[in-house]
Protein backbone atom coordinates (compact mmCIF):
# COMPACT_ATOMS: atom_id res chain seq x y z
CA UNK A 1 0.00 0.00 0.00
CA UNK A 2 1.29 3.40 -0.94
CA UNK A 3 0.54 5.63 2.06
CA UNK A 4 1.82 8.86 0.59
CA UNK A 5 1.87 9.82 -3.09
CA UNK A 6 3.60 13.10 -3.91
CA UNK A 7 3.54 14.63 -7.37
CA UNK A 8 6.66 16.77 -7.50
CA UNK A 9 7.29 19.34 -10.21
CA UNK A 10 10.62 20.97 -9.32
CA UNK A 11 14.09 19.71 -8.44
CA UNK A 12 14.37 21.60 -5.18
CA UNK A 13 11.20 20.02 -3.78
CA UNK A 14 12.44 16.61 -4.90
CA UNK A 15 15.74 16.98 -3.04
CA UNK A 16 13.88 18.19 0.04
CA UNK A 17 11.44 15.25 -0.04
CA UNK A 18 14.27 12.79 -0.62
CA UNK A 19 16.14 14.06 2.42
CA UNK A 20 12.97 13.88 4.50
CA UNK A 21 11.73 10.39 3.51
CA UNK A 22 15.09 8.72 2.64
CA UNK A 23 14.89 4.93 2.42
CA UNK A 24 11.11 4.91 3.04
CA UNK A 25 10.38 6.51 -0.32
CA UNK A 26 10.80 5.47 -3.92
CA UNK A 27 11.21 7.79 -6.88
CA UNK A 28 8.75 7.06 -9.68
CA UNK A 29 10.07 8.17 -13.10
CA UNK A 30 8.70 6.20 -16.06
CA UNK A 31 7.60 3.40 -13.75
CA UNK A 32 8.56 0.63 -16.17
CA UNK A 33 10.75 -1.05 -13.58
CA UNK A 34 9.23 0.22 -10.36
CA UNK A 35 5.58 -0.53 -11.13
CA UNK A 36 6.42 -4.03 -12.36
CA UNK A 37 8.28 -4.68 -9.11
CA UNK A 38 5.42 -3.30 -7.03
CA UNK A 39 2.92 -5.51 -8.86
CA UNK A 40 4.98 -8.61 -8.31
CA UNK A 41 5.28 -7.69 -4.61
CA UNK A 42 9.03 -7.42 -4.76
CA UNK A 43 8.75 -4.02 -3.11
CA UNK A 44 6.08 -2.18 -1.18
CA UNK A 45 7.08 1.47 -0.80
CA UNK A 46 5.45 3.59 1.83
CA UNK A 47 5.93 6.87 -0.05
CA UNK A 48 6.14 7.56 -3.79
CA UNK A 49 7.81 10.67 -5.17
CA UNK A 50 6.48 10.97 -8.71
CA UNK A 51 8.83 13.08 -10.80
CA UNK A 52 7.38 12.88 -14.32
CA UNK A 53 6.56 16.61 -14.26
CA UNK A 54 10.03 17.91 -13.33
CA UNK A 55 10.81 19.49 -16.71
CA UNK A 56 14.22 20.80 -15.60
CA UNK A 57 15.44 17.17 -15.40
CA UNK A 58 14.54 16.46 -19.05
CA UNK A 59 16.53 17.26 -22.17
CA UNK A 60 19.87 16.97 -23.91
CA UNK A 61 22.33 19.88 -24.08
CA UNK A 62 25.89 20.35 -25.26
CA UNK A 63 28.19 21.23 -22.36
CA UNK A 64 31.94 21.91 -22.26
CA UNK A 65 32.89 18.44 -20.93
CA UNK A 66 30.42 16.62 -23.11
CA UNK A 67 26.72 16.19 -23.62
CA UNK A 68 24.51 16.57 -20.56
CA UNK A 69 21.47 14.32 -20.56
CA UNK A 70 18.84 14.93 -17.87
CA UNK A 71 17.93 11.83 -15.85
CA UNK A 72 14.26 12.15 -16.82
CA UNK A 73 14.92 12.16 -20.55
CA UNK A 74 12.97 9.33 -22.15
CA UNK A 75 14.58 6.67 -24.32
CA UNK A 76 12.48 7.94 -27.25
CA UNK A 77 13.83 11.50 -26.85
CA UNK A 78 17.39 10.14 -26.73
CA UNK A 79 16.83 8.01 -29.83
CA UNK A 80 15.39 10.93 -31.78
CA UNK A 81 18.18 13.39 -30.86
CA UNK A 82 20.64 14.22 -33.65
CA UNK A 83 23.54 15.02 -31.29
CA UNK A 84 23.23 11.58 -29.66
CA UNK A 85 23.32 9.84 -33.02
CA UNK A 86 26.36 11.79 -34.19
CA UNK A 87 28.45 11.94 -31.02
CA UNK A 88 27.21 9.09 -28.83
CA UNK A 89 26.38 6.34 -31.27
CA UNK A 90 26.51 3.42 -28.76
CA UNK A 91 23.85 5.12 -26.62
CA UNK A 92 21.67 5.62 -29.69
CA UNK A 93 21.99 1.91 -30.42
CA UNK A 94 21.32 1.04 -26.77
CA UNK A 95 18.05 2.94 -26.47
CA UNK A 96 17.00 1.84 -29.96
CA UNK A 97 17.03 -1.73 -28.64
CA UNK A 98 14.98 -1.13 -25.51
CA UNK A 99 11.66 -2.97 -25.08
CA UNK A 100 9.02 -1.43 -27.32
CA UNK A 101 7.79 2.00 -28.42
CA UNK A 102 5.57 2.27 -25.36
CA UNK A 103 8.39 1.29 -22.98
CA UNK A 104 10.78 3.73 -24.69
CA UNK A 105 8.19 6.52 -24.35
CA UNK A 106 7.83 5.90 -20.63
CA UNK A 107 11.28 4.66 -19.57
CA UNK A 108 14.00 7.16 -18.67
CA UNK A 109 17.79 7.16 -18.69
CA UNK A 110 17.90 7.88 -14.94
CA UNK A 111 15.57 4.93 -14.26
CA UNK A 112 17.70 2.59 -16.36
CA UNK A 113 20.81 3.61 -14.42
CA UNK A 114 19.30 3.77 -10.92
CA UNK A 115 17.67 0.40 -11.44
CA UNK A 116 21.19 -1.04 -11.83
CA UNK A 117 20.22 -4.14 -13.76
CA UNK A 118 23.24 -5.90 -15.30
CA UNK A 119 21.28 -5.98 -18.54
CA UNK A 120 20.29 -2.29 -18.62
CA UNK A 121 20.86 -1.36 -22.25
CA UNK A 122 22.17 2.16 -21.61
CA UNK A 123 24.89 1.06 -19.19
CA UNK A 124 27.44 -0.63 -21.48
CA UNK A 125 27.19 2.31 -23.93
CA UNK A 126 27.81 4.82 -21.11
CA UNK A 127 30.76 2.73 -19.88
CA UNK A 128 32.59 2.64 -23.21
CA UNK A 129 32.18 6.41 -23.58
CA UNK A 130 33.52 7.11 -20.08
CA UNK A 131 30.35 8.88 -18.90
CA UNK A 132 29.95 10.45 -15.46
CA UNK A 133 26.81 10.38 -13.37
CA UNK A 134 25.83 13.54 -11.53
CA UNK A 135 24.27 12.76 -8.16
CA UNK A 136 22.53 15.41 -6.11
CA UNK A 137 21.26 15.67 -2.58
CA UNK A 138 20.00 18.66 -0.63
CA UNK A 139 23.45 19.34 0.79
CA UNK A 140 25.84 18.39 -2.02
CA UNK A 141 26.38 17.18 -5.53
CA UNK A 142 29.06 14.85 -6.90
CA UNK A 143 30.18 13.30 -10.17
CA UNK A 144 30.70 9.54 -10.19
CA UNK A 145 32.39 7.78 -13.15
CA UNK A 146 29.89 5.25 -14.46
CA UNK A 147 32.29 2.34 -13.89
CA UNK A 148 32.36 3.15 -10.16
CA UNK A 149 28.59 3.62 -9.79
CA UNK A 150 27.32 0.03 -9.69
CA UNK A 151 27.86 -2.29 -6.71
CA UNK A 152 25.68 -5.26 -7.61
CA UNK A 153 22.31 -6.08 -9.17
CA UNK A 154 20.04 -3.25 -7.99
CA UNK A 155 22.86 -1.77 -5.88
CA UNK A 156 24.67 1.51 -6.48
CA UNK A 157 26.79 4.01 -4.57
CA UNK A 158 23.78 6.35 -4.28
CA UNK A 159 22.94 7.37 -0.71
CA UNK A 160 19.33 7.42 0.55
CA UNK A 161 19.04 11.18 0.14
CA UNK A 162 20.60 11.28 -3.34
CA UNK A 163 19.09 11.26 -6.81
CA UNK A 164 20.49 10.85 -10.30
CA UNK A 165 20.32 14.36 -11.71
CA UNK A 166 21.97 13.89 -15.11
CA UNK A 167 24.63 12.07 -17.06
CA UNK A 168 27.61 13.75 -18.70
CA UNK A 169 28.93 11.96 -21.76
CA UNK A 170 32.17 12.85 -23.60
CA UNK A 171 31.57 13.44 -27.32
CA UNK A 172 33.30 11.93 -30.35
CA UNK A 173 31.79 8.44 -30.44
CA UNK A 174 30.48 7.71 -33.90
CA UNK A 175 29.54 4.70 -36.00
CA UNK A 176 33.16 4.14 -37.01
CA UNK A 177 34.83 4.09 -33.60
CA UNK A 178 32.12 2.72 -31.30
CA UNK A 179 28.97 0.66 -31.05
CA UNK A 180 26.63 -1.58 -29.08
CA UNK A 181 25.28 -5.01 -30.00
CA UNK A 182 22.56 -6.85 -28.16
CA UNK A 183 21.57 -10.46 -28.51
CA UNK A 184 18.00 -11.00 -27.35
CA UNK A 185 15.60 -13.86 -27.92
CA UNK A 186 13.33 -11.83 -30.21
CA UNK A 187 13.50 -8.39 -31.75
CA UNK A 188 11.15 -6.30 -29.63
CA UNK A 189 10.17 -6.67 -25.98
CA UNK A 190 13.07 -8.85 -24.94
CA UNK A 191 15.49 -8.10 -22.16
CA UNK A 192 18.96 -8.75 -23.61
CA UNK A 193 20.40 -12.15 -22.96
CA UNK A 194 23.81 -10.52 -23.32
CA UNK A 195 25.16 -7.37 -24.92
CA UNK A 196 28.51 -5.83 -25.84
CA UNK A 197 29.45 -2.17 -26.10
CA UNK A 198 32.76 -1.09 -27.62
CA UNK A 199 34.82 1.96 -28.41
CA UNK A 200 38.20 2.43 -30.03
CA UNK A 201 40.68 5.17 -29.18
CA UNK A 202 44.07 5.08 -30.96
CA UNK A 203 44.62 1.32 -30.75
CA UNK A 204 43.01 0.80 -27.36
CA UNK A 205 39.73 -1.04 -27.49
CA UNK A 206 37.30 -0.73 -24.57
CA UNK A 207 34.65 -3.43 -24.28
CA UNK A 208 31.69 -3.51 -21.88
CA UNK A 209 29.54 -6.57 -21.27
CA UNK A 210 25.86 -6.51 -20.30
CA UNK A 211 23.98 -9.45 -18.77
CA UNK A 212 27.24 -11.31 -18.25
CA UNK A 213 28.05 -10.61 -14.58
CA UNK A 214 26.26 -9.13 -11.51
CA UNK A 215 27.09 -5.69 -12.94
CA UNK A 216 28.11 -4.48 -16.39
CA UNK A 217 31.89 -5.10 -16.60
CA UNK A 218 34.65 -3.63 -18.73
CA UNK A 219 37.78 -5.01 -20.43
CA UNK A 220 40.51 -3.04 -22.16
CA UNK A 221 42.60 -4.62 -24.87
CA UNK A 222 44.91 -3.67 -27.71
CA UNK A 223 43.21 -3.70 -31.06
CA UNK A 224 45.86 -5.99 -32.56
CA UNK A 225 45.93 -8.57 -29.74
CA UNK A 226 45.87 -12.27 -30.60
CA UNK A 227 42.62 -14.24 -30.72
CA UNK A 228 43.70 -16.30 -27.71
CA UNK A 229 44.49 -13.20 -25.66
CA UNK A 230 41.19 -11.62 -26.63
CA UNK A 231 39.25 -14.70 -25.55
CA UNK A 232 41.10 -14.84 -22.24
CA UNK A 233 40.47 -11.18 -21.44
CA UNK A 234 36.80 -11.43 -22.31
CA UNK A 235 36.22 -14.57 -20.23
CA UNK A 236 38.12 -12.96 -17.35
CA UNK A 237 35.84 -9.93 -17.41
CA UNK A 238 32.58 -11.85 -17.30
CA UNK A 239 30.98 -14.33 -14.89
CA UNK A 240 27.61 -15.15 -16.39
CA UNK A 241 24.93 -17.11 -14.57
CA UNK A 242 22.51 -19.75 -15.76
CA UNK A 243 18.89 -18.66 -15.44
CA UNK A 244 15.56 -19.08 -17.17
CA UNK A 245 16.71 -17.09 -20.20
CA UNK A 246 20.02 -18.81 -20.94
CA UNK A 247 22.77 -21.00 -19.49
CA UNK A 248 26.23 -19.81 -18.46
CA UNK A 249 27.95 -21.58 -21.35
CA UNK A 250 25.49 -20.15 -23.86
CA UNK A 251 26.03 -16.63 -22.55
CA UNK A 252 29.83 -17.00 -22.74
CA UNK A 253 29.64 -18.27 -26.30
CA UNK A 254 27.24 -15.53 -27.43
CA UNK A 255 29.48 -12.84 -25.90
CA UNK A 256 32.52 -14.31 -27.68
CA UNK A 257 30.58 -14.44 -30.96
CA UNK A 258 29.48 -10.81 -30.57
CA UNK A 259 33.06 -9.73 -29.81
CA UNK A 260 34.44 -11.71 -32.75
CA UNK A 261 31.96 -10.29 -35.23
CA UNK A 262 32.71 -6.82 -33.92
CA UNK A 263 36.47 -7.39 -34.32
CA UNK A 264 35.96 -8.65 -37.87
CA UNK A 265 33.97 -5.54 -38.75
CA UNK A 266 36.76 -3.38 -37.27
CA UNK A 267 39.62 -5.01 -39.20
Amino acid sequence: MIKRFLNISDLESLLKAKSEYGSKCKILAGGTDLVVRMKTDMIDPDTILSIRNIDEMKGIIKGKDGTVIGALTSHTSIEENALIRKQHYPLYQGVYEIGSPQIRNMGTLGGNIANASPSGDTIAPLMVMGAKIKLMSRSKERLVPVDEFFKGPGKTVMADDEIVHSVIVPAGFNKKNSGFIKAGLRKALSIAVVSVGWSLKDDKLTLAFGGAAPIVTVAEIRKDCSAAELKKKVLNAISPISDLRASKGYREQVILNLVNSMMEALN
Binding site: F5, V35, I48, P101, Q102, I103
Partner: protein, 159 residues
Protein backbone atom coordinates in the same frame (compact mmCIF):
# COMPACT_ATOMS: atom_id res chain seq x y z
CA UNK B 1 -6.73 11.25 -3.88
CA UNK B 2 -8.59 13.29 -6.45
CA UNK B 3 -7.25 13.61 -10.00
CA UNK B 4 -8.29 15.47 -13.12
CA UNK B 5 -7.81 13.99 -16.59
CA UNK B 6 -8.61 15.29 -20.03
CA UNK B 7 -10.11 12.05 -21.23
CA UNK B 8 -10.88 11.74 -24.93
CA UNK B 9 -11.22 15.51 -25.14
CA UNK B 10 -13.20 16.38 -22.02
CA UNK B 11 -11.99 17.12 -18.51
CA UNK B 12 -13.17 14.70 -15.84
CA UNK B 13 -12.46 14.59 -12.14
CA UNK B 14 -12.56 11.52 -9.95
CA UNK B 15 -11.38 9.86 -6.77
CA UNK B 16 -8.71 7.18 -7.02
CA UNK B 17 -6.50 5.34 -4.58
CA UNK B 18 -2.70 5.66 -4.62
CA UNK B 19 -2.09 2.13 -5.92
CA UNK B 20 -4.55 2.25 -8.86
CA UNK B 21 -3.13 1.84 -12.32
CA UNK B 22 -4.49 3.97 -15.13
CA UNK B 23 -5.72 0.76 -16.77
CA UNK B 24 -7.76 -0.12 -13.68
CA UNK B 25 -9.28 3.36 -13.52
CA UNK B 26 -10.21 3.31 -17.21
CA UNK B 27 -11.75 -0.16 -17.23
CA UNK B 28 -13.17 -0.67 -13.77
CA UNK B 29 -14.05 2.83 -12.63
CA UNK B 30 -14.93 4.56 -15.89
CA UNK B 31 -16.13 1.44 -17.72
CA UNK B 32 -14.08 2.28 -20.78
CA UNK B 33 -13.53 -1.40 -21.50
CA UNK B 34 -12.10 -1.04 -25.01
CA UNK B 35 -8.66 -0.86 -23.42
CA UNK B 36 -7.72 -4.46 -22.61
CA UNK B 37 -5.71 -6.08 -19.86
CA UNK B 38 -3.43 -8.82 -21.17
CA UNK B 39 -0.20 -9.38 -19.29
CA UNK B 40 -0.40 -6.53 -16.79
CA UNK B 41 3.39 -6.15 -17.05
CA UNK B 42 4.06 -3.88 -20.01
CA UNK B 43 4.80 -6.73 -22.39
CA UNK B 44 1.75 -7.21 -24.62
CA UNK B 45 0.46 -3.73 -25.53
CA UNK B 46 -3.25 -4.64 -25.16
CA UNK B 47 -3.62 -1.76 -22.68
CA UNK B 48 -2.02 0.90 -24.92
CA UNK B 49 -3.39 4.45 -24.61
CA UNK B 50 -2.01 7.83 -25.65
CA UNK B 51 -0.78 9.86 -22.68
CA UNK B 52 0.16 13.51 -23.38
CA UNK B 53 0.83 12.68 -27.03
CA UNK B 54 2.75 9.42 -26.61
CA UNK B 55 1.72 5.79 -26.44
CA UNK B 56 2.13 4.07 -23.08
CA UNK B 57 1.08 0.75 -21.58
CA UNK B 58 -1.57 1.89 -19.11
CA UNK B 59 -1.02 -1.17 -16.90
CA UNK B 60 2.32 0.36 -15.82
CA UNK B 61 1.05 3.89 -15.25
CA UNK B 62 0.00 4.79 -11.72
CA UNK B 63 -3.10 6.96 -12.12
CA UNK B 64 -2.01 9.23 -9.29
CA UNK B 65 1.05 10.26 -11.31
CA UNK B 66 -0.88 11.57 -14.34
CA UNK B 67 -3.11 14.15 -12.65
CA UNK B 68 -3.68 16.97 -15.16
CA UNK B 69 -2.73 14.86 -18.19
CA UNK B 70 -4.51 14.29 -21.44
CA UNK B 71 -5.44 10.71 -22.38
CA UNK B 72 -6.82 9.21 -25.57
CA UNK B 73 -8.23 5.68 -25.48
CA UNK B 74 -9.66 3.54 -28.28
CA UNK B 75 -13.09 5.03 -27.45
CA UNK B 76 -11.69 8.44 -28.38
CA UNK B 77 -10.35 7.20 -31.71
CA UNK B 78 -13.29 5.12 -32.90
CA UNK B 79 -16.13 7.43 -34.06
CA UNK B 80 -19.59 7.26 -32.44
CA UNK B 81 -20.95 5.69 -35.61
CA UNK B 82 -18.99 3.57 -38.04
CA UNK B 83 -15.28 2.85 -37.90
CA UNK B 84 -11.99 4.71 -38.04
CA UNK B 85 -10.09 4.07 -41.32
CA UNK B 86 -7.54 1.95 -39.42
CA UNK B 87 -10.34 -0.21 -38.04
CA UNK B 88 -11.88 -0.47 -41.51
CA UNK B 89 -8.55 -1.55 -42.95
CA UNK B 90 -8.09 -4.20 -40.26
CA UNK B 91 -11.59 -5.62 -40.75
CA UNK B 92 -11.27 -5.69 -44.53
CA UNK B 93 -7.90 -7.45 -44.43
CA UNK B 94 -8.61 -10.12 -41.82
CA UNK B 95 -6.47 -8.34 -39.25
CA UNK B 96 -8.95 -9.16 -36.49
CA UNK B 97 -9.42 -12.70 -35.20
CA UNK B 98 -10.27 -12.92 -31.50
CA UNK B 99 -9.92 -9.14 -31.39
CA UNK B 100 -8.32 -8.91 -27.96
CA UNK B 101 -5.17 -7.22 -29.25
CA UNK B 102 -7.01 -5.01 -31.74
CA UNK B 103 -7.68 -1.87 -29.66
CA UNK B 104 -4.00 -1.72 -28.67
CA UNK B 105 -2.89 -2.07 -32.28
CA UNK B 106 -5.35 0.60 -33.40
CA UNK B 107 -4.08 3.04 -30.75
CA UNK B 108 -0.40 2.42 -31.69
CA UNK B 109 -1.18 2.71 -35.41
CA UNK B 110 -3.28 5.85 -34.88
CA UNK B 111 -0.51 7.55 -32.90
CA UNK B 112 2.07 6.61 -35.54
CA UNK B 113 -0.02 7.68 -38.54
CA UNK B 114 -1.32 10.91 -37.06
CA UNK B 115 2.27 12.12 -36.56
CA UNK B 116 3.40 11.75 -40.20
CA UNK B 117 2.34 12.14 -43.81
CA UNK B 118 4.48 9.28 -45.11
CA UNK B 119 6.33 6.26 -43.72
CA UNK B 120 8.32 3.17 -44.64
CA UNK B 121 7.17 -0.38 -43.91
CA UNK B 122 10.09 -0.84 -41.49
CA UNK B 123 9.00 2.24 -39.56
CA UNK B 124 5.43 0.97 -39.38
CA UNK B 125 6.49 -2.48 -38.20
CA UNK B 126 8.70 -0.96 -35.52
CA UNK B 127 5.83 1.27 -34.38
CA UNK B 128 3.65 -1.83 -33.93
CA UNK B 129 6.38 -3.93 -32.29
CA UNK B 130 5.09 -3.24 -28.77
CA UNK B 131 1.79 -4.96 -29.50
CA UNK B 132 1.52 -8.74 -29.43
CA UNK B 133 -1.09 -10.84 -31.23
CA UNK B 134 -1.40 -14.57 -30.68
CA UNK B 135 -3.92 -15.17 -33.48
CA UNK B 136 -3.13 -13.46 -36.75
CA UNK B 137 0.63 -13.77 -37.25
CA UNK B 138 0.91 -9.96 -37.79
CA UNK B 139 0.96 -10.00 -41.61
CA UNK B 140 -2.74 -9.23 -41.89
CA UNK B 141 -2.54 -6.62 -39.16
CA UNK B 142 0.22 -4.78 -41.02
CA UNK B 143 -1.73 -5.06 -44.29
CA UNK B 144 -4.84 -3.78 -42.53
CA UNK B 145 -3.03 -0.77 -41.08
CA UNK B 146 -1.53 0.00 -44.51
CA UNK B 147 -5.02 -0.10 -46.02
CA UNK B 148 -6.21 2.27 -43.30
CA UNK B 149 -3.25 4.57 -43.92
CA UNK B 150 -4.16 4.70 -47.60
CA UNK B 151 -7.73 5.72 -46.76
CA UNK B 152 -6.22 8.45 -44.54
CA UNK B 153 -4.20 9.70 -47.52
CA UNK B 154 -0.77 8.73 -46.14
CA UNK B 155 2.06 7.83 -48.46
CA UNK B 156 4.19 4.69 -48.23
CA UNK B 157 7.88 5.17 -49.03
CA UNK B 158 10.29 2.48 -50.15
CA UNK B 159 12.56 1.19 -47.36
Amino acid sequence: MKIRLKLNGSWREFEISNDDTLLHVLRDELRLTGTKRGCGNGECGACTVILDGETVTSCLVLAASVDGSSITTIEGISPQRGLHPIQEGLVANGGVQCGFCTPGFVVSAYDFLSKRESFTMDELKRALSGNLCRCTGYKKIVEGVVAGAEIMGKEIEND
